[in-house]
């Protein structure tokens, strides 16, 4: 979105490193700042550390070194901070990860009820409002397995939104979808961006990045290789590595 005013810094990542199994360097000194209402798109080849970075932001993965501060709360060993950050950062996964034993309604209201301690009526009202927003009011009593991939992902977005988060993280939200369902999910995400949600999105949907993104981050081998405005990133990228990657993905239609 090119005509909104961004707010204060809400995510601050300072030289974060993460190594798996002693020698897989998933992140190597990554630093990044995201402002309120900003939509940051992360792209990069497979294994470059995009998911790991996202997962560090809500504490799903612990960092080895470096600091992460979310909304002025440092993500450290303090249990209270961790819990607070988890409730302020929503996450949408590639494989939806809906709770299969719960209806759509129960999926969405679980967070408000048991974490926010909302009353049942309140949680139900939130659920109904959110389902209307993602266009699935008629599916409220369905189980996840009765929904298409696109519908499941929209429910997953509603489930994350039910916690009223400050930040939404998306890890390749459309990669597991049939092509004809990608649009409906991107539409929901676009509306969210228009409403001013702070978003960090890992995706290879170039159209979405161009239209909705404020900034693009290109990662490779656990490092941020290039950070650029959307226009510059595609029109005249700074780094050779970026050019190479772009030529590859633009060739075969936006997918790695």
């Amino acid at each position: 979105m090119h005509n909104k005013t961004l707010g204060e810094t809400i995510i601050a990542v300072d030289s974060v490193s993460k190594t798996f199994d002693r020698n897989v360097k998933a992140l190597q000194g990554v630093s990044l700042k995201v402002k309120q209402k900003e939509v940051v798109v992360i792209i990069g080849p497979s294994g470059s550390g995009k998911s790991t970075l996202l997962r560090c932001l809500n504490g799903l993965e612990e960092t080895d070194s470096g600091a992460i501060v979310i909304d002025d709360t440092p993500l450290n060993e303090h249990h209270r901070n961790k819990l607070k950050i988890r409730t302020e950062v929503g996450m949408v996964f590639q494989n939806f990860n809906l709770f299969p034993h719960m209806t759509v309604r129960e999926n969405i209201r679980t967070g408000p009820r048991f974490v926010r301690k909302a009353s049942l009526e309140e949680a139900d009202r939130t659920t109904e409002d959110l389902l209307a927003r993602v266009g699935l009011t008629d599916k409220i009593e369905s189980y996840p397995r009765q929904l298409s991939g696109g519908q499941q992902q929209r429910v997953a977005i509603a489930r994350a939104l039910a916690m009223n988060p400050l930040i939404m993280l998306f890890d390749e939200p459309t990669s597991a979808l049939d092509p004809e369902m990608v649009g409906e999910v991107l539409e929901v995400m676009k509306n969210l961006a228009i409403e001013g949600m702070t978003m960090v999105v890992v995706t290879h949907e170039i159209g979405f990045a161009r239209e909705v993104g404020d900034r693009i981050i290109f990662m490779d081998e656990g490092k941020i290789v290039e950070e650029n405005s959307v226009e510059n990133f595609f029109a005249n990228p700074e780094k050779e590595r970026t050019k190479l990657f772009l030529s590859k993905i633009l060739e075969n239609g936006g997918c790695e």
Partner: protein, 282 residues
Amino acid sequence: MTFVQGLLAGANELRHKAHLFKIRKPFIYEGLKFLFFSFILVFIAVQGINGLDYRWQWYRMPDYFYKISDSGFIAGPLFTGLGLTLLISAISLILSNLIGFITALFRLSDSVTAVAVSRIYLEVVRNTPLLIQLFLVYFVISPILGIGRMVSAIMALSLFEGAYTSEIIRSGIISIEKGQWEAAHSIGLTGVQTYRRIILPQAFGQVMPMLASQSISLVKDSALISTIAIYELTMQGQVAISKSFLTFEVWFSVAAIYLIINICLSMIIRIFEQNKKRQKNA
């Protein structure tokens, strides 16, 4: 609705009902097969027993189940034995599930102590005979703790079955994919809430059939506690034989009672599962 659509809908309905008709033929066929083999088996058994020159006295058996006297219904020894078997099994079932559940959580926890305790318990219980465990509890532990025969029996049985239950529950928990934990984490559920709302409902749903067959094992294994003179079904059977010498009749009756208990259990479980399936598909 056009005529063609109507036809198609009708055909579809018929196809759905077809399974109702289909069952019949194999059912009759299987039934005949079953009768045929039962007949052969019974024939061989009767031949064998005739050879032993055993004098059947089935007419004396009802006395061991019940008596009707002036004061009304009096439960016979097999009947009271059945009651005790059911009681002990029910209590042990609850306790073994509790023990199994806690042990599974211990084994999956981050605490080194909890993991060690649970592993030692599992190894010991699963690699020694139930009979020896029963004697250990009854002759060694019960005098120390000052507990009685019944409590010893229930304790030994619960600890034994609990080890197997725990492995079943653990397998259910670890079968839940990582994404479920992560989704629960990302909406801010605490560890306990994640277990309670997300993981355990799914895990138990998956292992229900295995837990059910474990409960059948428990009823069967409970026969062993007759060895420490608990007057449950098997013990009452032995006593009845020593008094009456109706060896065949009593053992056949006792076996039939176990069979009936466990068939009832299986049926309850099946009804339960079908209900669940129907609910799911609704």
